[in-house]
């Protein structure tokens, strides 16, 4: 239930640097909803890459996620709001 993930890319710098490992799990979201500030794994479709982003806004059950390094991030500013179904887990330790 806990996955080890290796981060590739600079969109979460300086919080999570490229090449570092994080742990992620869906477990917390079985008991509570994702909240603003959570770093989450985003899976927007079966054939898309897993992304790591931070929840910036929540509105009407949808989530606006952005990178901590917005200059080098493709996120909700580009692909729009996401649903809870598209959140594959919460990043626990960075």
């Amino acid at each position: 239930m806990i996955k080890i993930l290796r981060v590739k890319g600079e969109s979460m710098t300086p919080t999570v640097k490229s090449g570092s490992f994080v742990f992620a799990t869906i477990l917390p979201y079985l008991f509570r909803k994702p909240k603003v500030g959570d770093i989450v794994v985003v899976r927007r479709g079966k054939d898309t890459k897993n992304l790591i982003k931070r929840i910036k806004k929540i509105q009407g059950g949808r989530y606006f996620v952005v990178g901590d390094n917005p200059k080098e991030s493709t996120d909700s500013r580009t692909f729009g709001w996401i649903t809870k179904k598209e959140i594959a887990g919460r990043v626990l330790a960075v």
């Binding site: 590739k8 969109s11 979460m12 890459k49 897993n50 992304l51 790591i52 991030s73 500013r77 729009g80």
Partner: protein
């Protein structure tokens, strides 16, 4: 080698696609204003007995008008299809029609030399600029 390197892991991407979420209204505005300026310059050219230089300027103005009307259309389409999201439709219910009409005005300005059509295009892009600025604020 770290212990973590030995454990099975998946890759998660903190990635950045081109164009990196950078959207600006300025290119469309400049292109629309260029179209208007070219129409004004064409209108100012002598209609009777034009010199070779007048003809040269006419051709250059038409080519520039054509290029910038096309550029304006492309810039608007990028904003329409890439920047604006379904949730913006709630804020701007006429969004699709506004872009559609502006794109049509780009074509009209390619087909004609019309001060009226050029001014309409500038106004249409100004209107889109207002919508774009509001939408950008709602994203921040």
């Amino acid at each position: 080698m770290r212990l973590l390197d030995l454990l099975p892991y998946q890759t998660v991407y903190a990635h950045c696609d081109v164009p990196c979420g950078i959207y600006k209204i300025e290119p469309a505005k400049t292109a629309a204003e260029t179209v208007l300026k070219m129409v004004q310059l064409i209108e100012d050219l002598p209609k009777e007995n034009p010199t070779v230089d007048d003809r040269n300027k006419f051709v250059r103005c038409v080519v520039t008008k054509e290029e910038h009307a096309q550029k304006c259309k492309e810039e608007l389409l990028i904003l329409w299809t890439d920047f604006f999201k379904p949730e913006h439709l709630k804020m701007f219910p006429k969004l699709h029609d506004t872009f559609w009409q502006a794109a049509k005005l780009c074509s009209k300005n390619k087909q004609t030399v019309s001060l009226e059509a050029a001014k309409e295009l500038v106004s249409a892009v100004d209107e889109i600029a207002k919508i774009f600025n509001k939408a950008q604020k709602s994203n921040s």
